[in-house]
Symmetry: C2
Subunit: 255 residues, 2 copies
């Protein structure tokens, strides 16, 4: 438990690190009439705290996407005990949604605006036969993938680029320029491959669109060097299919 | 694909290795009006083969118990193509139930009677906070377990003993003497502990009853040496609580 000296009488800014299985949710962002992670979390926090809660979150994951290190922040009445809040929320929502840690943050902290980078992991099972235990958390690709092609295709994404070709259109005029800090494939053995990507920020569906394109290179359906041409085209039609959501996990957020 | 020269006109004996997520099933054994692994498998095989199928299986797993290496055998019309059968069944039942391999076995092969040993794995997550991704496949034990006590308690189970204290009563007069070939705890790191046990055969609920007792030793609620007294008592009241089914997985069967 961390205690922060909040200004006398002001609200306490609370920070939670969350893990969740996204299978049963229509994503993080609260929406009327559908089950979202943000929706069930806000209701649970309001029940525990007995006052309305407005959440900021580091990464608005899409329907079916999981998280290990999602970060949210909100204001609570001063005198809040983060450890008791964590126990109360885990009792209501666990093990589907779990508060891994809860603490008090400086008043200016905002889970979204204060984040310096986000990292995601995308898991692929590359075996001729599916796996019942990885089916919820990994994309099953039965045809053999060439790891060296996957890696060659992933390299050119490093650095600052216009990722328009890999982004679903956001609000008019919004930038699609992002800085990618890590872009690598890890071989976990036994046909399990993981793409790890870290960036200052991501556009909508960017990771799944990148993975879909890299996997096409891994299957030999496009040359690894094509990724450079796709980036330059800035055209969504040039990229591959969007990979399914259940392989993706918001891994960590850096502040 | 293995082709076996069946006697002319006789049926082909087929052998499948199965993996399944047991969460949605009332166990393996076929029963009327409930969803069981054996039930859905037999229906899928009959659909693919167009004739009735009677299954023998190596380990009749209980409701909620998983398998990685369950083995079943049955008779099929000669001329069966095991590879096509595997594809057809996986198309109907995967990824919840998956045929990992299919081949033709010698006519006398019986998945249950021919088995020389079975191995099970029981996974425990020993962390203060639950894990959304292991929740379906591991028992969450929040209080700290002492690995050395777990190991000391597991050692005396090796060898031939009367396991009456760890068995739910079977048919009147049936023996509860079994030979345990392996009994060990593996530390997978990050709070994940796995009990691996191998025996010529197991009685009903034997592994879960053993794990429940060992975990009580790991929590300091009984001395590791107590396991010897429990064995000698041959009384179910002397053993610990039965561990929950979702941590258990039928791992492999030896022939």
């Amino acid at each position: 438990m961390t205690l922060f000296d909040a200004p006398a009488g002001g609200p306490a800014r609370c920070r939670l690190v969350l893990a969740y299985d996204g299978t049963g949710f229509r994503g993080f962002a609260e929406q009327p009439h559908v089950r979202t992670v943000g929706g069930v979390l806000a209701r649970a926090l309001e029940k525990a705290l007995r006052h309305p809660v407005e959440l900021a979150c580091a990464g608005r994951t899409d329907a079916g996407v999981h998280a290990w290190g999602q970060v949210v922040s909100f204001d609570a009445d001063p005198g809040l005990d983060p450890w008791r809040l964590q126990q109360a929320v885990n009792g209501m929502l666990g093990p589907e949604v779990v508060v891994r840690s809860a603490d008090l943050a400086p008043p200016g902290f905002d889970a979204r605006r204060s984040a310096r980078w986000r990292s995601y992991r995308y898991t692929v099972v590359n075996r001729p036969v599916p796996d019942p235990f990885l089916a919820r958390y990994a994309w099953w690709v039965p045809r053999p993938l060439d790891l060296s092609s996957l890696r060659h295709a992933a390299d050119p994404l490093l650095g600052e680029h216009d990722f328009a070709a890999f982004c679903r259109k956001g609000p008019e005029g919004s930038s699609t320029i992002r800085r990618v800090l890590d872009s690598r494939w890890v071989d976990l053995g036994d046909g399990v491959l993981r793409y790890e990507v870290r960036a200052t920020a991501f556009c909508w569906q960017m990771v799944r669109s990148i993975v879909g394109t890299l996997v096409e290179a891994g299957l030999g359906r496009r040359r690894p060097a094509d990724v450079v041409a796709v980036l330059r085209a800035r055209d969504r039609g040039a990229a591959g299919q969007v990979a399914p959501p259940h392989g993706l996990c918001l891994w960590e957020v850096g502040y």
